[in-house]
Symmetry: C2
Subunit: 426 residues, 2 copies
């Protein structure tokens, strides 16, 4: 078992430590949605505070039905009997890797936990680069050669994962890329795991969104949750839409031995959320606008400083490329940005990217404020960039980036190991 | 991966199905505490309904401090830095098996999920019989020979699990047995996992309770939770007390990739519960008395019918032995009791026991009532056995058992597989 704690955790702890010691550090590392719980969800949790039964492993019938409705309204007709709920989409993804078995194809870069989970279940991830600007979907041609090569060497490759829209790149693959990868998955007989947890946060509602489940319903698992669209990360609730009774049975067998069920009061609140009442749709709409506005503003600061970065399509991430700086690795780049410029980000290496590629992940969602009042004000503001605390962070960033110049290598440092980690999120 | 759903799930679903179709079936299968949430915990959950951050993987500092206090008051001085919280003790146990690695010695019989979890992480359980009346602790001498034999054959045995008090037998191993097994574990260099989730439900407060963590703090992990003492199973909260920083780091690495953290509002309520305020201590005291009174009454019914059964020491289980009946296996016995006598129980075989031993697990906690009002009345009653619904269930049981006679083999039946499982609890 690989017990090294992820670079995500190390970086986050380091940033928190520096801020506590009084350093002026902009935290662009942590992938939390950074927004408050909507009061109507607090009410539902309260109303369900007497619920203490375990309930079915698959989740409460009301929650499964509501989640089915959520998918149906997005063009995916769904039998509630094919839905499995879990305490976050993270455990569902882990359970799926265990239930499907074999090795998994992952986009490179991709969310830190996919590869780590694969290793925990004894699988080996096949990292296949995603084309620039099409993050979250491994290059279809390279998938074919990677899988055929791996199979020729005796490896049992059974699944392929896509992230729509993507973390860490913040981009959404075009429908053509989805069509191609779905055909490839069919030709290679791979289960597709489509992680669509950022789906409701595509910035421009007119951007075409295609789920592989529309094209290959027989082999696509869709996972989602309320951590990003409704900022309920700490409530731990996720949902999966399974393509077959057989895989569902296997997933439930795993779920029943690892986590039993999500917290009952949370399931009741989530059942309400998935019916998409007006006030929650409005909250998601405001969140989407805020994420888009701030991500674009941060993107503009990077571009202005001469750093290459694809414009963000969804979520609250950017993945700028610092090629040209006199620095050898993304780990050193992240350390340099923290040490010399007071900007906390995560190295692309942590997402499985080439260690020598000078790319980092920038999360923009911690700029909305430190308090519930500030965050609510950011949600309500016609011009959130004009709010003093957000404007100050953007100025800090601009100043820090303006000072980049041709960097010198930072002093050598021992690899970081963190004894008390924060959560590996986002 | 083994994907057969457990007999627990199968039996429970079958009982629920029969009851829905109008059959008179006494559900003695399901291991839920069967009691309501205390109002002060509902209040704490409500007060924390705005909490949506992930927080540390190890759990909120307030919860870890409160859990440390809980153990200190039970003779186990605890640094909050050694506590890890999880969404139930079940995922903590799974994470521990993964973090410790190697094979694990389990008592036979033992809770259904231990062996299933071991198989999921790719380990093999070594089942070692527990002496009669000392359930939950594998026979020390037999542990030595089993481990030495397994190691001689190349197996990497690294841990040993005990359940105090025990599920499924309802008995608590005597302190001498704990001393012996702890010495053996030390001699064999095994990590001890001490599952003490039923500890607060030892029926007689004067019964001596010894945790292996008192004798071998350097190698003992203690796991617990609020599912049994405060009936919060569906809230999913568990705690573990780790013996070393190294194992803690490994467990946190696993936790961060599988579940992140327990639900934040639940953590806040649990932090309150573990400070053991007066009203919750009183609730646990009443629960303990009720569990003991009903378990002893059910025990008396079995003994009166000529069935051998050890008197229960804690929790809400009995493990009667029907030796003498003309039935071949515990699976057939459970089916017979359900089909012919309207009593739903779980076969000992499901707990890893010898399939030919005619033992079943009887859970007594679903007799308290069907509604919150009935269950509260049972908690409040000076004589819960006099409450009409409890008296009726005991009469039903007495009648059914009086009718046992020398049973004939039930008609052969296909092994049950259940497509939609309930949770594997208790």
């Amino acid at each position: 078992m690989n017990v090294t704690l992820s670079a995500t955790l190390a970086a986050n702890e380091e940033i928190v430590r520096r801020r506590r010691s009084g350093e002026r550090v902009l935290n662009l590392a942590f992938g939390e949605a950074g927004l408050p719980v909507h009061p109507s969800l607090q009410e539902r949790l309260t109303a369900a505070s007497g619920q203490n039964g375990y309930g079915p492993v698959a989740g409460l019938p009301a929650l499964r039905e509501a989640a089915a409705g959520y998918w149906e309204r997005r063009g995916l007709p769904t039998d509630p009997g094919t839905v499995v709920c879990g305490p976050g989409s993270k455990p569902l993804l882990y359970g799926l890797l265990l239930a499907i078995g074999g090795d998994v194809v992952l986009p490179m870069p991709s969310w830190v936990s996919y590869a780590a989970q694969a290793e925990l279940v004894g699988a080996r991830p096949l990292l296949v680069p995603a084309p620039p600007g099409e993050g979250g979907v491994p290059d279809p041609e390279r998938v074919v050669s990677a899988v055929l090569h791996a199979r020729a060497r005796g490896r049992d490759v059974r699944s392929l994962l896509v992230t729509l829209p993507d973390n860490p790149t913040g981009t959404l693959a075009a429908t053509d890329a989805i069509k191609k990868i779905t055909e490839i998955a069919r030709a290679l007989d791979l289960v597709i795991i489509s992680d669509e947890i950022y789906r409701d946060l595509v910035h421009d509602a007119s951007t075409p969104f295609l789920s592989p489940a529309e094209l290959a319903p027989e082999r696509t698992v869709v996972t989602s949750g309320l951590s990003k669209n409704l900022a309920l990360g700490g409530w731990r609730i996720g949902v999966a839409r399974l393509p077959s009774a057989e895989l569902r049975t296997r997933l439930l067998a795993v779920a029943s031995e690892i986590w039993s069920s999500p917290a009952a009061p949370v399931q009741h609140a989530a059942a309400y959320a998935y019916t998409e009442p007006a006030e929650l749709l409005e909250r998601i709409e405001r969140s989407r606008r805020l994420h888009g506005t701030v991500a674009r503003a941060v993107h503009a600061r990077f571009v202005r400083a001469g750093v290459t970065a694809h414009a963000p399509h969804g979520g609250f991430y950017l993945y700028p490329d610092f090629t040209g700086l006199d620095i050898a690795t993304s780990d050193e780049l992240a350390a340099h940005l923290l040490d010399r410029h007071g900007i906390g980000v995560l190295p692309g290496h942590a997402f499985g990217d080439d260690p020598a590629a000078l790319r980092v992940r920038v999360a923009t969602s911690l700029l909305y404020g430190e308090t519930t009042e500030q965050r609510l004000a950011a949600l309500e503001a016609a011009d959130p960039l004009g709010l003093p605390w957000i404007a100050a962070s953007l100025d800090h960033l601009e100043e820090a980036l303006g000072d980049l110049g041709p960097a010198r290598l930072p002093a050598p440092r021992a690899p970081r190991r963190v004894p008390v980690p924060g959560p590996a999120v986002g």
